[in-house]
Symmetry: C2
Subunit: 144 residues, 2 copies
């Protein structure tokens, strides 16, 4: 544990959480978890697969998809399906946030707005609903 840095610790913490949920920890899952914890961006499944294979080229794309599903249902990973693009993934360490998508670079910026959050709840209530989940994405271009 002396050699672990932040992302190393993150992956380890996730493994811990998964083990206690009865998820079997395989070589493949460890590798995927590791790469995801190290990722600063929001990779899609094929990109994740590519990165995982650098460390372990026996991992198949199917397993990447299956593992992502497991991790998502266990609350360890978040899936985002942005407009007209394959789904992208990130670790669910940060509490909650919405996204700005840079239309030119496809870069993703995270933000939170308690104010918007509050207004959403209020609007739902006004219509007789309660919010189970929501999706807020701003497709943007850099201002010059």
């Amino acid at each position: 544990m002396s050699e672990s840095d932040e992302t190393g610790g993150e992956a380890a913490a996730m493994e811990e959480a998964l083990r206690s949920e009865g998820v079997r920890l395989t070589r493949q899952r460890r590798a995927i978890l590791q790469v995801l914890a190290e990722a600063a961006d929001h990779p899609d499944a094929p990109e994740l697969h590519r990165r995982v294979q650098e460390a372990d080229d026996t991992v198949s794309l199917a397993t990447v998809y299956r593992t992502l599903s497991v991790l998502e249902t266990k609350g360890v990973v978040q899936r985002h399906a942005f407009e007209g693009a394959p789904a992208r993934f990130e670790t669910a360490d940060a509490p909650h946030h919405d996204h700005i998508i840079d239309l030119d670079s496809r870069e993703v910026i995270e933000f939170t707005s308690p104010e918007i959050e509050r207004l959403q709840k209020e609007i739902a209530r006004r219509h007789g609903y309660e919010v189970v989940s929501h999706r807020l994405e701003l497709y943007c271009r850099k201002r010059r």
Copy 2:
């Protein structure tokens, strides 16, 4: 024109707009436009196809998709890709709105919030961006 009601007028208005944009008005496109104008809900392509075929069973699903693309680029139709479901469509008559999706009935309720809209622009600006488009969806359940 004496027998036309609101939706009839809506379809006619759209045809007008399209003709002036140089879009060729075929029997199929008229039928699709008509059905869309009459729809109170947000049908997906196969459902739209089903409804169109009641009036004209020579219209193919491929043409429904192609027509929807044309109508979308001409700004006459709006496409919405809600979570984990095929895209759904509506006429772009109302100015702009976001959606509440009833998770149980799949019903869609429209709403607007100038306040949220304003906050979105502000957030984008704070990050050096300007909003090109956005997507705000509230996945909800009825309150009891």
